[in-house]
Every structure is written in C-alpha cells, then in structure tokens.
C-alpha cells in the first residue's frame, strides 16, 4: 500500500501485444474491439449492399444470380443489424458507460470480454457459411416456413444458430450494463444526474433482456423444425407459420429501439456541448426514451398488417404505433430547444448530430404512415419500407454513431480527427445517403417490392434505381474518406494532439486524460449535479448566461474528499481485475458447439468438444483468483 500522491494501480501487469488484447477485461479495450469489429463488418455489409445495388442499377441485369442476390441481401440485413449497429452501440456503451457514471470498469469485466468474443466468433461463424456452400438466404427475418424449407441445405441453420449465439452475447452484455448502472455509479451520481447516453444504454439493456427470450424460443423452434421434424411452423401438421412472425417481431420491434436509442443518447451529449447549453428538458428526454422502450413492446404487429390479423387487433396496433410517435416527437422538440438560443459551433460531430435530427424526422414520419393500416397495405414489403428504415437506421442511427466517433475520438486517442476530411465525409455521406434512399420512397409507392433480384422494364422504376445505385457508391466514397481520416489521424499520428477537454465538455469523461488510464479515475469523482464538469467550470450570471470560473479553468477536477468514502488509503489503492483468457475460451466453446449443431448428426462430435471447452472455460473462470498478485 502506497501513500504517495500518485495512485497505485494494483493488477497483474498482464501480457502485452495481441495476447494482451485477447485476454483483456478492460472495458475501454473491449469497447475498442467492439468498435473495430463493427467497423470491419460495416464495410463487408456495405459491400454486400453495393453488389445488390449494382444488380438493381437497371431492369433485368445479370450481375448477380437470384441465388447470390438472396444470400447477399439476407447477409446485408443480418450484418448491419446484428454485426454493425448493435456492436457499435455496445462499443460506445462499453467505453463510455462506466466513465460517464464515474466507475472504473463495468460490474462484470470478464463477462464483458465473454460477450465481445461470443459476438465476434458468432459473426465469423455466420460468415464462414459463404465458403461452406452458401450463406443464409431467407431474409434477415427468416419467415417460416420459407426458412424451414429445404432442410437438406444448411444455410438457414447458420442463421438460426448464429442469431441464437449473438442473443446470448447480447443478454450477457445487457445484464452487465444494468448491474453497472445500478451498482457502480460514483457518489452523488443519482439516476437523474446520469448523462442521457447512460440512460439510453440502460433502457436498451432492459429492452434486450426482455425481448431476446422471445426470439430465442422462436429460433429454437425453427432449429427443431429444420433438423428434428419439430413442425412448430408446419401448417400441414397443424403448426402455425404466423407464430414465428409474432415471436420474431416481439423481439424485432424493440430491437429497432435497441439500434436507435444509443444514437439518440449520443446526439443528446453532442448537441449541448457544441451549443454550450444544457440539454433542454432533460427529464423529458430521459422519460420519453423510457416510454419509447415500454411502448416499443406493444407495436410489434405493425410489421404484420398484411398477414391476416383481425381488424380490431390491427386498429389497436395501428393506434399504438401512432402513440409511439409522441415521445419520439418530444425528443426532437427538446433537441431543437437545446440548440435554440445557444452558441453553435459547427464542427463534424455537430454536423452529423444535426443531420441525424433531420433524417430521423423523415424516417419517423414515414414510420407514422405505416401506422395508417390501409395505406400500409400498399407500402408494406416495398422499397418505401426500405427507404423508411434506412432513414431511421442509417440517416438516424449510423449518423448518430458517426457523430459519436468524431466527438469521442480525441478521448480514445488523444488526437482530434481532421475537420476538413470530416466535412468532406459528412457532405458526401449526406448527399449519397439521400440519393440512395430518397428515391426508394418513390419506387415503393410505385409498386416495387423489396427482396426482388430483378425487375422488368415498363414499370417506371429504372431511373430511380439508377440514381439510388449511384448514391450508394457515393456513400462508399464518403466512408473511405472517413477511414482515411482515422488512419491519418491516429495511425499516421498526423492528427492534432489535444488535452483532456478539447470541446469544453460537460460530462465526466472530459475530466480524465486522453486516452484514459486503465483505472479511468485516479480518485472516484463525487458528483453534485447533472453535467457536473460544466458546473465546475462555469457559474451563471444574473441573466442566466454561463460565466467561466477562472480558478478552475483547465479541466481540474475537484474531489470532495470528505464525502469520498473511507480513508485516503482506499482512494489511492486501486484494484483492477486481472486479464483472463477464460472468457475467450468459454465463448469459443459455445461457437464450436453451435457449429456442430449445424452439421448434425456428425456435428455431435463438435457439440461434445464445444461443450467440454465451454465447461473448461467456465470452471477456470469461476476458480480464477481475483487478483493474481497483490
């Protein structure tokens, strides 16, 4: 135990290099792993989309066969939802949730590593299908009985098993985040002093915990139908194909909010920072996020307005869908209220956040048109729907996450991304995005169904499809600029170095060095207010304008030692969890087990091996000493 001013971090030194990353349990490293993996999958999923768009450039093109097309659009959806947007959200949550609430790590660091590795291995398992005879080809929603048809082909087993394992990873991560928020907040960090991003992460974790079991049951039944004659969805045997749709969308609709809410959280951090004003109506933003989470469980059947439900059920789900627009609208009003009267700096994170609002408004309003059931019977399963959810998930979620990357990049690396390249990225992305997905509204209303590998001449679809394809390539260029910006700034070390607090930020992450030390906080902060860091730097004059307090300029942290808890020694003696390879081992075992299930009956050997590896990992994990040396 040390009594010097420098705090002593107690943890085994741990291996360096690749093995250090593999065995890491540091939430920041795991966050970066999530982010980089999601980025790679983003380019793969984007490439799949470009192939799809190339095929649709004109009528009756033969760039792709129908079989290849079906695999590619299925994998595009699967990739973007489960291997890109969810892990990007997990990346931000991992890295920043503990810091934003003043914690040194998540509640269960090894479980955190387990979640990441299970996500990565499951993604690789799904992608290995491409070299094993074809990838899943029954659309990401995998409607039965199409997905249970042709059981001699294993493609959709990659999908049932892959999604199941990804679900396990998500449930573990969600439990972890919930425990982190409930048990790890710094002194004084009450629930209503938590940054909105932390709140949205919490809502998302609850959404996943409650929605994933539904699709897990559905996927088990599908797997049994495909491999053991389960007949759950076989109409001829008295099964019900629509049961799958209900089980899937009871998960699938909350999933939409899983994808968008963390992005809304990021925007709610970025706007106040660059408008130099607090978030307008903080409690309303928080509670509308929670309300969206609750109502999100009651609208799933709006994905099924053409499936043959009774009119009363349809009316109920239609009106519920309209109601969910109210808390969503509240958020938008509050974001505009936040920048109203502010002093707005227009740098790249702000551009993407403002574009998020504009694009999300379009996507949200086209969503309301789906709630109008008779009108939805025309729009359902057309390119109008494709346009709608890309405005929500690309113009919305992805723009929000990109904003987050520009915003927090200096915290990760100590260097700020180049503004000129950022603005080029932004404008190319905004124009490319609207060129791609704007025309799809028109195509859908003009009768073009989605998931069609070709379309004939004479239906008036050719021109808009060409425009959409050109736009898609523009998006590629935009994101190549983004990658170059990241490479140049960080890996070539050409980015401008910045200190702890480059944006004059409001929340706790800006009080610590960039990049943060392994233990985040030398001393656990004591929080007195929402936007605590801002209030340490600024007072308000009689007009309500912010006034800088000179004594504390420069990002110094005040720590209330009297209420910090315990004696001084405890502040300075920081226990951090030791690296462990057991999480990797356990998740690897689970994926071996899953791979075995795809190739029954011979796969039972792999099931056995996988089970043994998982058990080995779990035993080792539970018997591992907390800190190897002390």
């Amino acid at each position: 135990m040390t009594t010097t001013a420098e705090p002593q971090v107690i943890r085994s030194p741990g291996p360096r290099g690749i093995w250090g990353w593999i065995t890491t349990v540091d939430h920041k490293r795991i966050g970066l792993l999530y982010g980089v993996s999601a980025g790679v999958f983003f380019f793969i999923g984007g490439l799949e989309a470009l192939l799809v768009r190339t095929q649709l450039f004109g009528p009756n093109l033969e760039v792709l066969s129908a079989d290849a097309y079906n695999q590619l659009f299925t994998m595009h959806g699967l990739t973007m939802v489960f291997l890109v947007v969810m892990p990007i959200a997990a990346a931000f949550t991992n890295y920043f949730l503990p810091i934003l609430i003043g914690a040194r790590d998540v509640a269960f660091p090894r479980l955190n590593a387990f979640s990441y590795w299970l996500f990565l291995f499951s993604g690789l398992l799904i992608y290995s299908s491409f070299v094993m005879g074809g990838s899943p080809d029954g659309a990401w929603v995998g409607y039965a009985p199409l997905s249970t048809q042709l059981t001699e082909v294993v493609r959709m087993d990659y999908w049932t098993i892959g999604l199941q394992l990804l679900g396990v990873a998500s449930i573990a991560a969600s439990a972890n985040f919930i425990a982190t928020v409930f048990t790890m907040r710094a002194p004084g960090m009450t629930m209503l002093r938590m940054p909105v991003f932390a709140w949205m992460s919490l809502v998302v974790a609850f959404l996943l915990i409650f929605s994933l079991p539904s699709v897990a049951i559905g996927l088990f039944q599908l797997f049994l139908d495909r491999n053991f004659g389960g007949l759950f969805y076989a109409a001829a045997a008295g099964g019900d194909p629509l049961l799958w749709q209900h089980l899937f969308w009871i998960f699938g609709h909350p999933e939409v909010y899983v994808l968008i809410l963390p992005a809304m959280g990021i925007v709610s951090e970025v706007l106040p920072t660059f408008a130099r004003k607090p978030l307008f109506g903080y409690p309303f933003v928080v509670f509308s996020g929670a309300a969206i989470g609750f109502i999100g469980f009651g609208v799933w059947s709006h994905h099924m307005f053409t499936s043959g439900m009774g009119p009363l059920a349809e009316a109920g789900f239609g009106v519920a869908t309209m109601i969910i627009a109210v808390p969503t609208g509240v958020k938008i009003f509050n974001w505009i209220g936040t920048i109203w009267g502010g002093k707005i700096t227009f740098n790249t994170p702000m551009l993407f956040s403002v574009a998020f609002i504009a694009m999300f408004v379009i996507g949200g309003l086209s969503g309301v048109t789906h709630a109008v059931v008779p009108s939805d019977t025309q729009q359902h399963d057309t390119y109008y729907v494709v346009a709608h959810f890309h405005y929500v998930l690309f113009g919305g979620a992805i723009f929000g996450y990109v904003s987050g990357v520009y915003y927090w990049f200096p915290k990760w690396t100590g260097r700020v991304l180049n503004e000129t390249l950022g603005k080029i990225h932004f404008w190319l992305a905004l124009i490319g995005f609207n060129l791609t997905f704007g025309p799809m509204h028109i195509l859908g209303l003009n009768g073009m169904p989605r998931r069609t590998y070709r379309y004939p001449e004479g239906l008036g679809w050719a021109n808009w499809n060409s425009v959409a394809t050109i736009g898609a390539y523009l998006i590629l260029v935009a994101f190549l600029v983004f990658v170059w910006n990241i490479v140049r700034t960080h890996f070539l070390a050409k980015g401008e170095r910045v200190g702890n607090d480059p944006w004059d930020g409001r929340t706790l992450e800006w009080t610590i060095p960039s990049p943060p030390p392994v233990h985040n906080f030398d001393e656990v902060p004591v929080v007195h207010a929402l936007d605590d860091f801002w209030h340490q730097k600024y007072a308000e004059d009689e007009e309500g304008r912010a006034v800088r307090m000179p004594a504390l300029a420069g990002g110094a942290v005040t720590v209330d030692k009297a209420t910090g808890g315990g004696d001084e020694g405890e502040h300075l003696d920081i226990h951090m969890p030791s690296p462990s390879y057991y999480p990797v081992l356990s998740s690897l075992g689970l994926v071996i087990l899953g791979a075995g299930l795809i190739y029954l009956p011979w796969g039972f050997i792999a099931v056995g091996v996988g089970t043994a590896v998982t058990m080995w990992g779990l035993f080792g994990w539970s018997l591992e000493p907390i800190t190897k040396e002390h």
């Binding site: 129908a66 903080y282 920048i339 309301v368 109008v372 025309q378």
Partner: protein, 382 residues
C-alpha cells in the same frame, strides 16, 4: 376524387419529402403504382395516403425549417464572446409539443380505423365473383368456383386473372408451400397468402384494360429464389366480354388430329408433361377427358386447387407465362421447355411429388424436335 391527376403533380408532391427536385423529370408513376388507383378501394387508400402524406410533409417542412433557422440564427459568430443563457427546459413547450402531436395523430387515427374496417370487410352476396387463389413457388393458381361447366369442371387458370369492370370480386386465398402476398396495387393493397389459413382480398376495377395491356402486380412477400418472377396480370373486361371469356375458358381444347405435328407433340406431352400439368381435351367423338393429376389442399374448411403446375388447357389465351414473367411466344416457350432454369431461377432438383413439394419445372431432356412438336400443340390450345 383525384382520379385523373397528372403524373407530374404526383412526382412533385413526392419530392417535397425528399430533396431530389433536380431529377424529378425522370419519373412517372407507372402501371404498378399505388398512386394511380384504378378502383374504389385503391382510391380510398390513396386518399388516406394523401391526407397522411400532406400532414407528414407539413411537419417535416416545419421541423426542418425550424432546425435550419435555429442553426443559422444561433451559430457562433467570431468576436462574440458572450455565453448563451443556460435554459434547462420549459414545461409549457413540453406539454405543448405533446398536445400538438396527439392532436395530429388523432386526426389521422380516425380515418385510419374507419378505412381499416372498410378494407377488411369480406363482401358477400350473389353478385360477388368468388375466386379461390392458391399461391405456389413461384406461380398463382386461380379457380373461379362459381363458373362451372356442364360436366362439373370449374374454371381454372393461372397467373392471369380476368375480372369484369365495376364488379366486386372476393379472393379467398391460401398457399401450397410458403407465405406469399397477392398484390395488384392499382386495385387494392396487398394481402398475405398463408399456408394452412385463408385470407381474403376484395378487388374492384373501374375500367376495362386494353387488349394485351393487363394491369401488373406481383407477389410481395419474399418466397425464395424466383420471388421477383412471381407476377400477376389482371385483365379487366366489360361485362359482356367477361362472359365470353368465361365461356371460352370452360370449353375444352381440341385433341390433335392424328398424323399431324400436333399429334406427335401430344404423344410427348401425354407421356411427360401430364405428370404435373392438367389439360382438358375434347376428342373427335365429343368425349371430354382431363389429363394430369388433380390435387387439392384444405384450409379453413375450403378446398383449394393445389396443382403441381399451371393448367394448360387454354395456355395460348394468355399473353405471358412463367408467372407473368415472359411474353408467350414460340421462341420463349421453346427456350423454357429446353431449359426452364435458364429463364427463371428455380430449384426443381428438390422436387418431391410424393410429398407435394414442387420448386419449379425441371429440364425434361426433350430433343429439339420434340420441343417444336409440343410447342405446336400448345399453340392450338387457345
């Protein structure tokens, strides 16, 4: 009410939602557009869409304009070192925003629910034309259950639906395999076609279609390989023309005269094609015989036709084949019989007639001569 609006207006109004005015001239609505209703149901839906579209557009313009104004008005200006006022919120604005959105949504929810109840009514009565629809991978089978020939045969056709103008048509639908969705946008929205269940869709069309220019539609629920090629053609006739069409479809086609090319084709056809396809022929003695298998499936108390392939009795009365995908002519048909998968992606290797599973027409290995004979035969079945 907006029956004959110009295409240009539609495009303009669409563009209010998307910033693409520069390329507006490229587009018309097209024959499969939900925005060009050709019947009262589709028109009601379109009117509802108009209401919602304009309200949504109004909100989008208001919010976007506000956003643009705010970021312009409150941009950081060089030399201005005053900090903004730290406003934390306003209950008045929050409540106002909620009330504003609730009122807007209430305005659209009333016609939504009313329209929904209208759209979902299943028409009954003697004037309603009842058609049973069976969705197959990847084609449509239609049975006009009230159109019965003297010998008890019902009217059976495939992929091209014929209805009279201004008459209410009730489709009762099920699927033989996976979920499909019947959709002809200009007459109504889509309705899923689900195995083991029945769903209903009402069709009413305003005007007869010109000969050879049926209204296009297609399957809207992803159903596997050839989902894109599972199309529908809707012919609308005057009442008299419809009766003529019904009579001609109920009549059998002729058995070919011996020692002709067609007779040679019939030998091949009867040996190979009738494994899956039905055809009803009348021989020289006036005897009417139906060749090929007759299969049914039951759903919700209805008996549906569930054939392996389309009934070919009046193949050449259709303008297209391959589920509305290819123009019906000698070249296309010869190519098709020679190698069906070269034209349309299917998976006949997985066919298993014993269990009723058919995933497209196989390559039957016929010689060029046999194909020419069979096509000559088919050309006589008008």
């Amino acid at each position: 009410m907006h029956l004959h609006r110009r295409n240009r207006n539609r495009v303009t109004r669409l563009l209010l939602g998307v910033p693409l005015a520069a390329v507006a001239a490229c587009s018309g609505s097209g024959p499969q557009s939900a925005l060009e209703p050709g019947g009262p149901i589709a028109r009601d839906i379109d009117n509802l869409w108009d209401l919602v579209f304009w309200m949504a557009t109004g909100v989008a313009i208001f919010v976007s304009a506000l956003l643009v104004w705010v970021i312009w008005r409150y941009r950081a200006r060089p030399g201005d070192d005053r900090e903004p006022r730290q406003v934390h919120g306003s209950s008045f604005i929050e409540v106002g925003g909620v009330v504003f959105s609730v009122v807007l949504l209430a305005i659209i929810s009333v016609p939504t629910v009313r329209g929904l109840l209208d759209v979902r009514q299943i028409p009954t009565g003697p004037d309603v034309i009842q058609i049973q629809v069976t969705g197959h991978q990847w084609w449509w089978e239609f049975e006009y259950v009230d159109e019965v020939a003297g010998d008890g045969r019902t009217l059976i056709t495939a992929n091209e639906l014929h209805i009279p103008e201004d008459r209410t048509v009730n489709l009762t639908m099920t699927s033989a395999d996976v979920i499909h969705s019947f959709w002809v946008p200009t007459v109504n929205g889509k309705r899923d076609v689900v195995p083991g269940r029945t769903t209903n869709l009402t069709l009413i069309a305003d005007d007869p279609t010109p000969p050879g220019q049926p209204i296009p539609g297609q399957c809207a629920e992803f159903c596997g390989l050839a989902h894109a090629d599972m199309r529908i053609k809707l012919h609308v006739h005057t009442a008299a023309d419809y009766e003529t069409w019904v009579d001609s479809q109920l009549a059998p086609s002729p058995t070919p005269v011996e020692d002709t090319v067609e007779a040679a084709g019939w030998e091949t056809f009867n040996a190979v094609c009738t494994t899956c396809h039905q055809v009803t022929l009348e021989d020289a003695d006036g005897e009417i015989v139906t060749y090929g298998p007759e299969r049914h499936i039951a759903a919700d108390g209805f008996e549906f036709r569930s054939s392996f392939g389309p009934n070919l009795t009046h193949l050449y009365s259709r303008g297209t084949f391959g589920s509305g995908t290819f123009t019906l002519d000698r070249d296309h048909l010869s190519q098709w019989i020679d190698n069906p998968q070269a034209l349309k992606p299917m998976n006949p290797d997985a066919n298993d007639l014993a269990t009723g599973r058919v995933l497209g027409m196989p390559d039957l290995g016929l010689t060029v001569d046999e194909i020419a004979e069979v096509v000559s035969l088919l050309e006589t079945w008008r």
